[in-house]
Amino acid sequence: MSADLIPNKAFFDTYNEAVLIFSDKQQVIYINPAFTYLTGFGLQHPFEMQALSELLIPDTFEADGLFKNRAYLSFSKKDGALLKAKVSESDIVLSDQSKGKFYTFNLLPGLDVITGGERKFYELADASPAMIFLQDENEQAFYFNNSWLTYTGKTLKQQQNLLWKNLVHPDDIRILEDLAPTITRRKSYSFELRLKKSDGSYRNIFVISTPLLSEDRAFAGYMSSGLDITEVKEAQNQISQLSHALKQSTEELDQFTYVTSHDLQEPLRMITGYIQLIQKNIERGNLANLDEFMGFVLGGASRMQMLIADLLHLSRVTRKTAPFAAVNINDVIHVALSHLSKAVTAGKAEITCENMPTIMGDTYQLVSLFENLLENALKFRTLDTLSKITISAGQKDDKYIFQIKDNGIGIDYKFHKRIFAIFQRLHTQAEYEGTGIGLAVCKKIVERHGGEIWVESEPGKGSAFYFSIKNNS
């Protein structure tokens, strides 16, 4: 039935390229002797014709024209060996005027007949977790293994028809462009780029490409294998971030331990020193200054207590952090002022507060922050003057900026930075009591909220403390 349909059959019979013709019913109706020679299949028996249709690897071979023009095809020879060829498709009008499809097969140089050994290669490639693909000498990719196809979510056919570079992240195309000279020299190369996955996400793929050689040692393309290193990269980034944070916190801790031990020793020295002095004077019967000396002992003890309380506070602020939630700053200020009610009354302070926003933050820390700043505003007041403190807030870019302004003693410009370091004090205990921890606590809290703290002030002209808080809502 079939052979009669083939126009110019005598020509195809002698044609030296393998030819296969499908009917419009997508059945094989003709193969030429070159095809039989190449594949081992003949059309002497109808069952062989059937077998041929089935043996063509179904995923890669459909007679629906998907591999129009130049495409690549692998299929089994009769003896089971895999065959790899470039396929060209064209339409043909059969003798009965029906339309058929006409295919010619060009064996690939270097990869022409896939023998048993090469078949093992493809089996191995398909079992490999690496994403493997092969390119011919013109850099055209003709084979992608299972891992690759699973990653891209395409069939081999779709992948063959789609330039794989289309899946590369637009920003990473230049990585391939930079490699062009290496590729022209037919050297091995490796690169890393983002490749689009089936779910639309981009992941980092590391690829090594090595040249393929044909039997006569001629260049026959590239074999490339890639690995998804996204997680490794993320882990690396995380490690370097963590180690950076660790280094910073170790340095802070070192500094902290040093300063703490120094500052805690001071009151302890007072206690020990004066008790010994008292003892000595009692032994000598000199009771004149005992009251004064006792005052230093008690002063040392209460200072020690204050230091420990403040240190605990600092440690709590940095250690016991709560997840951010919406915090109404009006409430925060209300709580902070209730803690300071004594000082507010004692300083005869007049505190005015604008309506405050609600921000994302850690309530406990924000109360501490306002409490410390307000406490300072009350403490460093100008004597014999009514303390006036105003609290206001504004917005700049993606940040809220808060201001606490007082009419107190002010701070010289040269101390504007130092005051935020731990245990740094501008006054003696006799002038203003304190531990030098408060503003260090403020700085820590503001930093945790993604902001900065600074002061604008001049001696005798009051101080305005500012801090910014990232607007995360």
Partner: protein, 149 residues
Amino acid sequence: MDFVKSSKQKPRVLLVEDNPGDIRLTQEALKESEVEIILDVVSDGEQALDFLFKRNKFTDAIRPHIILLDLNLPKKNGIEVLKELKAHDSLKKIPVIVLTTSDADHDISKAYSFHANCYILKPVDFDDFAKVIRLIELFWFNTVQLPNE
């Protein structure tokens, strides 16, 4: 000949110390000494420099023979005081005895880099403290020769 015997002046010490307890302890320790030492006290770094440069409220200040300098001071710390002092042609001749609680290597090294004449840790014990004050006195006023301005 030591200072006390060779000079008709009484030995003068400037104590730069912010802790009233330490100031008082130093005064008590000095009481135990045989010679009368005149002690001037300032309680921060800026005052120390004002005193030595006879500025602001210290225009009548009298130049000390030695300086006892704490490092941890309000406003200007001890190292900053040393830096300014040791850069001054005349004031750099006054021996500076750093007397502090810090045993940190970087403090010790920094103090000497800025030409501190010696570095002493404040003892915790009063008897030891008195001993240190006594040793300072013995060394700087009874052993060494000090410059005549």
